[in-house]
Symmetry: C3
């Protein structure tokens, strides 16, 4: 069985944000056993799973991505939309645009310290759209 839902996240500024509880609220009825696929319909924001306890991890993730993909316009030809735009595309490819998470006993079966991150790679705030698909 497949169930599917499209949602719009709240508006987030640049950086990584934990959205696990938003997803759980949107998916009030999860099957006993299955998989959740989360897909982001954008090319300058990504999805990843990482540490959910210490907010400094969110900051360091943003700083690290900045350092791996420098925001230096001389490196890029696609610069029309601002110096944060092309680096945001590269970061999206590095982080990824979809996640598949097991569902067990009606809950997301992640590790204790795992949370779902929305990483906004643009400077300006955006409300990003996700497609949530559960197969069971």
């Amino acid at each position: 069985m497949i169930t599917q839902k499209e949602i719009t996240l709240p508006s987030y500024g640049r950086g990584c944000h934990i959205i696990t509880s938003i997803l759980e609220r949107e998916l009030d009825e999860m099957p006993d056993q299955g998989l959740l696929n989360i897909f982001i319909k954008h090319t300058s924001a990504g999805l990843t799973i990482n540490e959910n306890a210490d907010p400094s991890v969110l900051d360091d993730m943003e700083t690290s991505m900045r350092s791996i993909v420098p925001e230096d316009p001389s490196r890029y030809t696609h610069t029309m939309e601002g110096s944060d735009d092309m680096p945001a595309h590269v970061k999206t490819t590095l982080a990824g645009v979809s996640l598949t998470i097991p569902i067990t006993n009606g809950r997301l079966n992640m590790g204790t310290w795992q949370g779902v991150y929305l990483c906004e790679f643009r400077n300006r705030k955006h409300s990003r759209r996700l497609v949530l698909t559960i197969y069971s």
Copy 2:
């Protein structure tokens, strides 16, 4: 229901190439609701989803991956197959080898600006094999 198909892509040279329309042609009958998994059977070419409008993004993606994973033989021990080989393996891990995309109303439910990229990380042209699996 699962349907599966293995295809060989046209031969592509080094760089990122948008293959969305090839996939759509191969998948002429998509279900109303489901998921498409695309898996590349190689270790020096990757799959990602990114901007489908401005060709300069494809060029900058290639340049960025080159700069993140430098092609400097002194950094690697696996150099037998050429100086582009080990960097190609690393880039494959960074970009990823599979994508899962929602299908809605018989179409790939991606964002307006999203396209599926085949990234060829070797210097020499290759015809890469993909496994396409639809579950609905």
Copy 3:
């Protein structure tokens, strides 16, 4: 049909390790056609698919990840758990925490040179937990 299983891997030290045969042993009965999702329940170890033949690729992968995400405490604020900890989180995001692999004729339908890697990004040995989900 969905079948699900949670396993604990043997303890591995820092670096990349090929776990394909462990997975195949755990999944003794695979369907004719389907998909396997592998999910790692941790935030400082990742899963990827890469070259299964030359052990030097495993070493170079570890060295490359180290060079992409330097272990320099001055770059991070989340340093409480050691200088390898925050870099391990970043590498987990770059490599990814889940894989979806096609199953065809009762076997993992990967390329000849592909193997599943567990990448342990912490210095200390860990026994990591995976959730294996097969849908067919």
